[in-house]
Structure formats: C-alpha cells, structure tokens
Amino acid sequence: MPKSPIHHHIFSIAHRKSGYDIPLHTRLGTEFLVLLIALMTYLLLLSASGSIGLGHMADKWVSGLENAMTIEIPASENAQKQAEKLAEKLPKIDYVKTARVLTQSDIGDMLSPWLGNDTSVLSDLPLPTLVSVELTKRTPATTLSIKNTVNSTAPEAIVDSHEVWLVDLLKLTNGLRVTALIVFGLILFVTSFVIAGAVRSRMAMHQRELELLHTMGATDKYISLQFIRYIFSQTTKGLGFGVLAGLMTFIFFAVFTNQSTGTLPELKMGQIDWIILASIPFLLLVIGTFTARQTVYSVLNEMP
C-alpha cells in the first residue's frame, strides 16, 4: 500500500532510478498490471496445456476405440469354446493385432459397481463371454472379415465396433479444441488491449512530465524507451508469477493424478508440448512490448 507521499518527501533523499526520468517504477497502479499479466499467463498456460492434454486424451481414446472391437457371445454352453476359437482365428486376419477372451474376473471388475464385490454372486451369474479384439488399423475390409469370421464361428455373437461412439467423440474433441483456441486468442487480445490501456493511462498520469521532456528536446525514442522498459519489466514480473502458478498447478495435478485411483486419464506431455508451453511467456512478452511501443508512439505523435 503506498504511503502518503509527503512522508516520502520529507524524510527521504531522492534517488533517481537509473534510466527513468518518469517515475514509472512508483508503486501506484503497478500491482494491477503485474497481477493481470500473471493471470493472463496462467490462463494461457492452462488453456494451452488443457488443449494439448485433451488432444492427447482424445487421440488415445479415439485410437483405443478405433483399433478395438468387442465381440459378445451370449451365455450358452459352448460360448467359451466359440470364444476361444475366435481368439485363434481372428489374429490371422490382416491388421488384427490380438484377440483375447476376457476372463470371468475381467468381467467381474466391470460389473462390480452394479452387482457388488461379492464374487460368489458373480460365479452364479451366467455372464456373456467377451472377446476383445485389437487392430493395428481399421479398414472396411478388416471389419468385414471379422464380421464374417464371427458369423461363421459364433452366429449368436454381436460385434460392437464402436462406430457411433467414434463419430461423437471426434465431434466433441474437435469442438473442445476449437474452443480452447478461441479462448487462447481471446486472452492474447485482451492482454494486448489491457497493456495498451495501461500505457495510455500511465502516459496520461505523467502527461506533464512527458510534455516537459518533449519540450526539452527528448526524441520520441528517448521517451518511449522508458515506457517500453517499464512495460517489459512489469510483464516479465507478471510472467514470472503466472509461470510459477502454472507450475504449481501442474505439480499439484501430477501428485493428485498419481494418488487417484486411475479414473482420471493421464496427461503425459511430449517434448514438443513442453516447447509450446515454454514459448507462451515469450509470446506474451513480445506482444506486450510491441503493444507498448505502438501505443507510446501513437500518443507521442499527438504532441507537436
């Protein structure tokens, strides 16, 4: 909180901050800009890493769904046998990687939320037998071959190729990505707008000093450098806080996901992703400095 300047006047000896003729480094209003930049950085980091993470998650889900099929054989006496036959035959089809019969306990895990953990109950239930198929690539031919093979081996079985899900999921993830991009752009826009505003209001605040410097023959460059340096240092400070907050959130998130039971999909970042994230502060710095420069020049140009 700023102390009443009169105290400052009386008790202190003046120290000119090297390079500044205009008291931009005084505390009034400074916190605002730093805070805002910090917030913006944080939001940018979150939205970027969110969209990156979402992308990975979606890729994983999509490829999981795309390269997987499930075959359900209704409970019957030879269901198990049919299933085993399928698990043998299917891998011979092109692009089929594996085919595996799910055991009782696999199914039990899936059903436990509904039927309780009591395995004795489960063993009494005549559950369907499931065959999980993994593909390396999904082609219409492969899908057809699988269906044919299933039909001939276990006519009652149902092939779940997840097609409806796939389309929905792609729609959703694409929508989310576009949203994240829009948010990203919006934040950048708001940031440069706010910086321009901050520069203008600081210049209006120090109008008299500016005019004096101008009158004494200071060039636009001489004056603008002080503002640019100021905005640069404020932005850097804000970026620092924002990145710090972002890192803390990541760490928190990492610890949290490690402790969790695994229901949250993991957000593993690649090298490129880290580079993208790391470039965000620089992007902000460049935009901030550039905006400041343009604003200062446009205001200075109003002077004779």
Partner: protein, 236 residues
Amino acid sequence: MIKFEHVGLRYGIGPEVLSDITFTLEQGSFHFLCGPSGAGKSSLMTLLYLGRKCSRGQIHMMGKDTGKLKRDELAELRQKIGVVFQDFRLLPHLSAFDNAALPLRISGVSEKKIKNHVEELLDWVGLGDCMKRLPATLSGGQQQRIAVARAVIANPRLLLADEPTGNLDDETSMKLMGLFEQLNKMGTTILIATHSTQILDRLPHRRLILNQGHLDIFDPNAQSTEPPKMPEFLHA
C-alpha cells in the same frame, strides 16, 4: 536567429491570443518581454520553444522554417533552446540535481561530465547543499533557481525565461541577471519576460512590449523613458 512573420495563435476554438506578430531577434541579442498579465507573453514563449504550433504565419528559427521540420529535427532544435518556465515545471520525483541534469541526459552527455557541470552550477546559484532534495522540500526561490540552472546547463543557443525572478530577492535576482548577461556575451540569444521594474530599470536592453495580442519594440537607450511605438526600431 528568430524571425516571426504574421504569426497568430489561438487556443482551441478561443479568440486569437496573439495576432499578426512580426519581429526578428538577431543572433546574440538580449531582449525583455513586457506587458500586462494575460497579454500573451507566456504564449509567445510557447511558440518560441516550439511547444505549440502557430495557428497562422511562419516562424523561422536558426535558419529553418519550423513548420516544415520533421519530428526528429524539431527535437534537435529544441535541445538548443533553454527555457525557464513561469511555473518552474520541475519533475517532482527527481532531486534538484537530476532536474538540473535533465537536458544533459537528453543530449546523451556522459554521467561524469554531468556530475561536474551540474554540481558547479548548483553551487553557484547557492544550492550546493540541496542537490539531493526533492523540489517539494525546497522554498519557492530555491525551486526557481533550479529551473534557471536547468535552462542554462546545456549552454543553449537560445534562452527563454518567463518571469525568472518572481520568487527571488533583489540580490539573487541581480546575480541571475548577471548570469544571463554572461551567457549573452558568449553568444546566447536571450529573451526574458518580466514584470520587475527593478530589473527593467537597471538593465538597458531592448523590450518587446505585448498588449492585447500586438507587439511593439522599445529601446530604452535610444529614447529616454517615453512610451513605445517607434517605427525606426522596427527597421533596425
């Protein structure tokens, strides 16, 4: 040095504060600028230090038509002009030293040279032990002396002083006038706006007299103490 041709000035949409001003100040001359309060002295000064564009007419300075200069050329020209403002215009957050050093910093002089020059000058105007203090902790006269120091520190080619002794006692006033005369002898063109009969009586320089936006020139050496309006001097 300075040539005004039919210069007029109005603020915004107001009436003309200066109208049809024509005069020439020669290199190395010393003039006083007189006239009642509100006559337009400070406004004329503003035009001279290029703080504002005239609404009509032409101003030539140091051989250039100021209306046709680029921004950087204007800045260069301004660096050669020292101004003592009527209201001082010291930067409130800078010490006396830094205020006086401003013109040197703007023209990129080395810090060592700045230190020597500024300390010497502030000592001379009697502010040797106030150098690190902020303007708000100085008396009116002390502030005015810093304003004067700032105006002369860079050895300007044109010195404009608007009421530079309004807050000073006679002794200090005459000392500063001595400084101005010294600068004048070294080639600086000087124009001082003043009300002080004290100063006007003692120094025999020519006077520009402003009244209701019109300018007359009066030479106390040529005509003893008569009123202005002498066509001879307009041609001289």
